[in-house]
Point group: C2
Chain length 382, copies 2
């Protein structure tokens, strides 16, 4: 299968490319280094340096004998994306090419406008490149569980039947997100659904929870093949921040009450999910939505887990609540369904103490590079 | 009250500006002539020429003694819009500045991308200009009833309480539109709702049905103050097309079965609705959604009305069904609520035979300018 990965330099993009290539598929990555540029502009560089994408491709090729195609360019530029699609003729496009930071999208006008235009135009261009040059191609879009927000009803898998005044119909599950970044993914879903039902596209929209982990069969081959690891307030997710804080000997910073509950998953499970989606595509004219996570934790539970495992490794780990820089519910109902990927065959890798200890050991090896100034919130929208 | 009208050169924008100015408000119009440019590019010029916006302002000023401020520029350019907002300090912004044609948005990649980027970026810039320079200002956004599509349940006024598995919560009423243009208005609503609940904007989103009519207290002063009148397949709405077909002696073209039902309103009622929304603003942090139409007709009913009134005026009017160029339901349930504007004080002007006869007489005076090549569908998406 020919798989085109948009945003192939990213935390998920690069492991996804290696994963497909190692399983005998033809993989092709594109990226314009937008995340690297934003990381530099906001002093949010990752803990370890990552080679440029073309170097990663060369290193992986020399170590594994699997060739990955690569082009550096902007997917929001249609002439670029169109040429790649016409020449590579993908059977699946995995679309990760979005500005992925909620705090960055809330920093000011310029950052918000960049997020809105980049994210929507890449989705729009992916749709059109498929319509014009590869109508059978399956678009696998990375959405986010954050699209749903934290409603007071159970969250279904993308769709809901509404009974109202004695009649009923089925609709997209209602969405209301907590940042502009998350809102752009709501708009992406609206846009995809319009083109799916109008022109018979074939789309899977994955509502993914926060991902943690640095390990996959291919990432483990060589340090230079690791995904990027951000622990800053802009790109770092809560698990990474806690791990780095534990190692640096500064308190784990819980935003507000810490009752914010989300569904998490291991990087290895993201790779499984993308592969399952690609090898079992939906019909044309179907927007398949899957809730992509394996287990739920509150922020307080995560902090306590990291504390416990950190102390087992001899670290002195304190937990401290700080003012929440985000506008979000700190205590809320949260009961999202997530059957679809299990039914496709997902075998979860859970967040065991061993998994956390493995990540902590990794961070410990790099402790000299930690810059604690990057960790505390620098963007507020509460 | 200081009222800034974005898209002040449009079918609604220009009458709105005169309406506010004539009632003692300070009105300021901005426009970049995007619609005029698209009309020329697609051979969809209106039936009568309209003077440029600055000339209209001058003519209205000399005939009525009411001054309207005016700037020609692109609201998708933040530097332009920001300067206007900073200097004029509006208390209300009426946002009409969108590419308004469904067929144009479905014509191809370039047209779709222009529609997506223009419409979203103007909405985004209006939000930010208010956040940064006029936080108390009320944004009155022109949405469309088309955002809801034609669901099998009753359409509520913007919001719906969903009861699900024994729990309940209130959400935006589900939206799924029939063209990319209508979809951009769905995205606008998502974007406005995000910024309203996050930063306490004050917004009214008007879900308007198709508008007809050329007459208002101010439009009637002088021929040169009339709004534009499009009868082509790109910008012409169904009522205008039927009136021109009746006068030109060609069959009224019903798309498909003609059971497509929508809520319509008279231009005079749009002006009332906008004024009611402006003078009775919502609280900060409220997204008020109002369904803006006064009566419902199917396409077949409209055709029969135009036929009857045309024949009273001695015209020979035939009705003919043609292949539907659009992807839409031609027979469907349709029961939208529309109490809100009545409660604010709206006194409807209905589509009487006299109103249709008045419009037909107007078109008869311009019959020499009719170009029947413009009327039949030139864009298909079914």
């Amino acid at each position: 299968m020919r798989v085109l990965i948009l945003g192939g330099d990213g935390y998920l993009g690069w492991p996804t490319a290696m994963h497909f290539a190692a399983r005998g598929h033809e993989a092709f990555v594109v990226d314009n280094y937008l995340r690297r540029w934003i990381a530099r502009a906001t002093s949010s560089e990752p803990l370890m340096d990552n080679p440029n994408l073309e170097e990663r491709v060369a290193i992986f090729g020399s170590l594994s004998n699997h060739r990955i195609g690569c082009a550096i360019g902007d997917c929001a530029d249609y002439r670029f994306l169109e040429r790649v699609v016409r020449e590579f003729r993908p059977e699946a496009i995995v679309h990760y090419a979005e500005q992925p930071s909620a705090p960055y999208s809330m920093r000011g006008y310029e950052e918000a406008r960049l997020t809105l235009n980049n994210n929507l135009n890449v989705t729009f261009n992916a749709i059109w490149a498929v319509l014009e040059h590869a109508p059978e191609c399956h678009i696998i879009k990375l959405g986010t569980m954050g699209e749903y927000g934290t409603p007071d009803i159970d969250i279904e898998e993308g769709w809901i039947e509404i009974e109202h005044k004695g009649r009923k119909d089925t609709f997209l599950f209602p969405r209301q997100a907590g940042s502009l970044y998350h809102t752009t993914k709501v708009l992406d879903t609206d846009l995809l659904w319009f083109y799916v039902r109008t022109f018979g596209l074939r789309v899977t929209d994955l509502m993914q929870g926060p991902v943690y982990g640095l390990s996959s069969d291919e990432c483990d081959i060589d340090e230079r093949l690791l995904p990027n690891f951000h622990y800053d307030d802009i790109f770092g997710t809560v698990v990474n921040r806690f791990l780095v804080q534990a190692v640096a000997g500064v308190p784990l910073t819980v935003y507000g009450k810490g009752g914010q509950t989300r569904g998490y998953l291991n990087l290895r499970d993201t790779l499984q999910c993308i592969e399952l989606a690609a090898t079992k595509p939906p019909e044309r004219g179907e927007l398949r939505i899957l809730n992509q996570f394996t287990e739920r934790f509150s922020v307080n539970e995560l902090a306590e887990r990291v504390q416990r495992v950190g102390e087992q490794l001899g670290l002195d780990v304190e937990i401290r609540s700080i003012d929440n820089p985000r506008k979000e519910r700190e205590e809320h109902y949260y009961n999202p369904v997530h059957h679809g990927l299990r039914e496709l065959g997902l075998k979860p890798h859970l967040m065991t103490d061993e998994v956390l200890a493995g990540m902590l050991r990794h961070v410990l090896r790099c402790r000299g590079s930690i810059d604690t100034k990057k960790i505390l919130p620098r963007v507020r929208w509460a």
